[in-house]
Amino acid sequence: MIKLLHVEDDADIREIAEMALGLSGEFEIVQCETGEAALSKIESYTPDVVLLDMMMPGMTGRQTLEKMRQRPELADIPAIFMTARAQHSEIEELLQIGAADVISKPFDPMALPDQIKVAMQKPR
């Protein structure tokens, strides 16, 4: 099972992602509503992959990733961003700070499990 930490402020999107990933039977999903909650969660839970919403109240997805990267034990965990602002320059920027992939919203729920697995295989 792939341990996935999903950080997303929109409850509906959390539910859809949980259902889509749950259907594949390959993911163990833990969800957080904010970046702050995610940073707190990873004190006790080390995921295999993090799925991060970009625009969240409080800490953005980017800030959350930067905080995570400051901890050596979390530095190599692949992080995938989900964003509604998928301009080329923004995607480039996110990839440069270490994102494994950037998934544009709206996303195809049925394709999501494969997208995550492919991103996890990418060399970093």
């Binding site: 859809i16 259902m19 509604a84 602002r85 080329h88 709206p106 996303f107 049925m110």
Partner: protein, 549 residues
């Protein structure tokens, strides 16, 4: 204009003025033509020479009268030299004209006598002639500016006093007009007003001699911006500001304008750090030389408003994406059967909702793209790519849509790899747009051909459908924004009405051209040419990412 009423004209005749007036008129008429007058002017006519009050007050003594008549004759002669004078009869036909009027208008006496007075008026002033006549028949004197036309067609502005003439029995006999040429005065006033207006304008204005490239004029705003006192600018030329990149840019633009034989160029730049819209007009002189009229319009406020608008569009569009993610995601899961079996009718309805969610996403994407195009912020990721591969990718990506519209595609000219320097995602965006239009306007069972032609410097990508074709009256606006929204048939086909406009902007930004051939009832071929390598005019920033200028 002023009018003086002469309701008491008969009373004046009774009082003995008629005889005097007859004498004045005879004198004035002889001065004009050398012929004796046969009609009596009203008191107003006498007033033109400024003699009536004198005559009425002192006209009792015949010797004095003779003396005054002589003086009056001299005054009339002075008037005759100063003003153009004409007399018309009761039918408004010219009966007498003085030499000065002939000089002013360029006509000969023979050409004017017997002609309607309107022959002297400019076409734009014919109404004035009617207005004058309506005053005169009421016994009123008309004063005002009249726009005449010289024989050579040029305009002659005159300040005119036109007075009615009456026969001894009080019947309407015509009128006499005295006209002073004010053309030059008007021109000077107009030039002065123009100069004052230019000076007060908020925009910076420079006028530069094209030969010497020296300044010949700067308005107040321009002098203030460059901290130039009074007329100091006349000692300077554009080249004197060689430390200033912005002014050197103006100099280069001026020289290019003249070199290319063009008359106008416009661009966005800045002046002393202030963002400006610059407009340069070359005003040719008589011998090939000329002047550059250079206008700088401060666009600081405009740019701020654009930024606010752009931020608003961007925020709204992105905010719409979050609920759409849930809507589309939920429906996608339902359609996949993840939430259990769905009855057929419900599936049909879900499919409609899902497709329209997709449509809404496309519209939002188009609005975002359009906003970026408007602000020059549309980004490109230019790479060396195999166009044949991209065409196949776009065709595959649209397989579902083909299925829905019941059409098929045929690929031509994709046997060999064709390398081209372009943005692969934007290429697929353009081709997808053309394909989706082709599907929408084709009948089920039709075949759509996607072809690539390898020319010397460019590749031509064409999408040929067997659809309804584009009527002639719609062809000119096909690349306009919201062009297809005016056609109800097209509205039912969906789309934001922005797609082709965006395609055009993308293709042109990639150094290419887009066009179409169409025949109603036969079909349409949309094509776009892409250069194999990006031309120098297309700026590339940071290796691969660039923006539309």
């Amino acid at each position: 204009m002023q009018a003086t009423t002469h309701k008491n004209r008969k009373a004046l005749c009774v009082a003995g003025a008629c005889g005097l007036a007859t004498g004045w008129y005879a004198a004035s008429s002889m001065l004009l033509t050398g012929l004796a007058a046969s009609v009596i002017p009203a008191a107003g006519a006498i007033a033109i020479a400024g003699v009536l009050p004198t005559m009425l007050a002192k006209g009792r003594n015949s010797k004095e009268n003779d003396h005054k008549l002589l003086t009056m004759s001299q005054r009339l002669e002075a008037l005759n030299h100063h003003a153009g004078i004409n007399i018309v009869n009761e039918n408004n036909a010219l009966t007498e004209v003085n030499d000065h009027l002939l000089t002013l208008t360029g006509y000969s006496r023979e050409e004017l006598i017997g002609q309607p007075v309107k022959v002297l008026y400019d076409d734009n002033a014919k109404d004035v002639a009617d207005e004058v006549r309506s005053f005169l028949v009421q016994g009123k004197t008309w004063q005002g500016e009249t726009q005449l036309r010289r024989k050579d067609g040029s305009i002659l502005f005159t300040q005119s006093t036109i007075m009615p003439l009456f026969k001894a029995n009080g019947e309407w006999a015509g009128s006499i007009s005295a006209r002073t040429d004010v053309t030059e005065a008007n021109k000077l006033l107009s030039e002065r007003d123009t100069a004052q207006t230019l000076n007060e304008l908020r925009d910076d204005i420079w006028i530069v001699d094209s030969e010497t490239e020296q300044f010949s004029y700067m308005n107040r705003a321009a002098k203030g911006r460059l901290s130039i006192e009074s007329d100091e600018y006349k000692l300077k030329g554009l080249a004197d500001f060689n430390q200033d990149k912005e002014i050197q840019e103006v100099l280069r633009a001026c020289r290019a304008l003249r070199k290319n034989g063009e008359t106008n160029t416009q661009y966005r730049s800045s002046l002393i750090g202030v963002p400006m819209h610059v407009s340069i007009n070359f005003l040719p002189g008589s011998n090939g030389e000329g002047r550059y009229l250079i206008l700088f319009n401060d666009i600081t406020d405009h740019l701020q408003q654009e930024q606010i608008k752009s931020a608003f569009i961007s925020n709204v569009s992105h905010e719409l994406r979050s609920p759409l993610t849930s809507i589309k995601g939920a429906m996608g899961l339902l359609l996949s059967g993840s939430a259990g079996e769905i009855p057929d009718k419900a599936m049909t309805l879900l499919d409609i909702a899902h497709r329209n969610a997709d449509r809404l996403i496309l519209i939002i994407n188009d609005i975002l793209d359009l906003d970026k195009i408007s602000n020059g912020q549309l980004e490109f990721d230019v790479q060396m790519v195999d166009l044949a591969e991209l065409v196949r990718e776009a065709d595959n990506a649209n397989a579902m849509l083909q299925q829905r519209f019941g059409v098929s595609t045929k690929l031509q000219g994709l046997e060999d790899a064709m390398m081209v320097q372009t943005d692969p995602n934007r290429f697929i965006q353009v081709l997808t747009n053309l394909l989706s239009n082709a599907y929408k306007f084709s009948s089920p069972g039709s075949e759509i051909t996607i072809s690539v032609q390898n020319e010397d410097d460019y590749l031509r990508i064409a999408v040929k459908d067997q659809g309804t074709g584009i009527p002639v009256n719609e062809q000119h606006k096909i690349f306009d924004r919201f062009a297809d929204m005016t056609n109800s048939d097209r509205m039912t086909k969906g789309g934001s009405g922005l797609g082709l406009n965006i395609c055009k902007a993308i293709v042109e930004s990639l150094g290419g051209k887009i066009g179409f051939d169409t025949e109603v009832g036969v079909g349409t071929t949309f094509y776009f040419n892409l250069p194999k390598t990006l031309p120098d005019t297309v700026a590339v920033e940071e290796d691969t990412v660039r923006q539309i200028a």
